[in-house]
Amino acid sequence: MNTQIATGPPANFDLTQLGKVPLDETHTFIFESARGACGGSPMWRVRKEVEARELIALAQVSERIAILMLDLREDIRVQFIMRVPVPCMPSPDGPIHFATAAEVGLVYPATAVVEPQPGYSFACLLRPLQAWHPNIGPFATGQRICLGPTLPAGVQTREIIFLLYRLFALQTAQFNSFDPAGVMNGAAADWWQRNVDKIPLTNESFLSFAASLRATATENNL
């Protein structure tokens, strides 16, 4: 069997080195394709290129996310799949089940660099469709994901990715439906308040996925 093992981060890797990670052929192609059409003011273009490269490097080293589309023409517009359990409840009476991945659409506008943005303004869950999560809005409004009351001006896209991961995994979530700061689905908030024994959905850290893949591959070789 031909197993492809990712180019993982070095042992002393930390996120400050993300911009220096050499991209492999696939990820270089994604980056260069998006960069070729990058538009906007000079400062915004520089910012987008830095953000995009870090995002792609994060996808490469973590293998937690796979980028499907990256568009830098105006906003940073990225569609990706994140490997994380996503709670779903297709029928109001249950049972709950867990999708193994989330397909997410993220839009980072130029205004987010200089103005704090509402926490629900960046990301939408594209699939699965029947998410059962206190901080994910109804399908009718695009399954917007609320990351908190407000995100600070200049928040980095990689931070948004980490927030999304912790949110999906219910490592951080806001259940209080009387607090307007984050609850997009009151029924789900109520349900999860009554089922706190089920959370978090995973204790894995975002960056541990690639390491576990490598460990599995090593075991198989043995």
């Binding site: 538009g39 906007g40 003011s41 000079p42 400062m43 915004w44 273009r45 910012r47 023409r73 105006e74 906003d75 517009r77 569609q79 659409g105 993220l106 839009v107 506008p109 130029a110 660099v113 200089v114 103005e115 704090p116 943005q117 509402p118 926490g119 629900y120 303004s121 939408c124 594209l126 469709l129 809005g137 399908f139 009718a140 409004t141 695009g142 917007r144 609320c146 009351p149 407000t150 600070p152 001006a153 200049g154 307007p180 700061a181 984050g182 609850v183 997009m184």
Partner: protein
Amino acid sequence: MNNRNCLTEISLPPGASPAPLADFGERLPPFIGGPEDAAQRLASVRALVAGSGSVGLEVVETLARWKVAEIAVVDPKRFKGESVLTHGIPPEAVGESKAFYAGRLAKRISPLTRVSAAERGFETIGFAELARFSVVFLATDNLLAELKVSQACLSLGTPVVQGSVHGECLCGHVRFFGHGGPEAPCVACGYTRDEWAHLNRSTLYSCEGSGANTPAEGQPTRSLSSLCSLAAQLASLQFARDLLGLGAPVRDTVLEYCAYTHQTVITKLVRKPDCPCEHQVLRRTAAPRAIRNCSLRELQEAAGLGTAVTFEVDGGLWAEQGRCECGEWGALGRFVSESDTTYGPCQLCGKATKGHPFQCHRRVPAAVTEPFRDQQLGALGAVDICWAAVRSNQHGALFLDPTP
């Protein structure tokens, strides 16, 4: 910056005479080195005052005494008991809207001036509405409002005169942003790391979906009322000097007066090379006809900025794709309003398709609109619009309908 006509025009109370008590020229001096048409220049001013507190209210009153053409006042707050300590108001005004109180005062002083007010924040003023003002006076109490005023006015090339005080130091400041081009400074060019942090802290956004923001209750202005009045009068004088060409240029300067020492310092404001804000002044360009009857291609050609451009229209989002409840995606290719993105039935199940947030663009790259470039904007859903903007990486053009 999307709701239009949010300003309410203020009329005289019933029975009040619309005739002015005196002609402004009776007290206007022949300024040394000044223009002969000083009165006419002042009379042609159309000013918007953002923030009608202890500084802004004084500015409004002064503009009314100059009998300018138009004054608009925006302020979301009402007077509190403590306001009497710093504002030029009588106790009876407590509880009244700051904006409407200032507007009514201005109208009484200058009945022929067109006066309007809004008990709202600056961001509710429509772009086309803002475009008719020749100057904006900024006297708000939070950095986010400052930033929004600066960004909107910079893109229109409208000067901003900001008056502020630092009560403990007995200092008054007037910053004059000329917004003359991409190399001119904006408010954010002078922000320190602390100010960016404060900007982030002082704002609360609700998750309830309206996108509205409510500034958190901030620190009240602690100052002697004299200092507030002084800052307002200095701001007015700086504007008059600019308008009438009196003395050295005041554009892109900050004037600081300290009452401890009676010293005045004038410092040049410069653009920060790595300012994160957009520094693009839109060139006002005539549309071939009413904007809703123009196609995107016509606007693009009239803008003369090449093909790698983006389009933005008044209050509209370009919905590239929509999604039905059944999960089916469908191509839309039209403008939808921010409040209602519903459009057409799903081809699969017949239910309503909605523009999806991930597939909606406020500024849409031209390439995305290619199949629809020759259709009129009205046919593409942009019916009730007053303006459209075409931008390249370096330049931009603004199309305004004559009567917003």
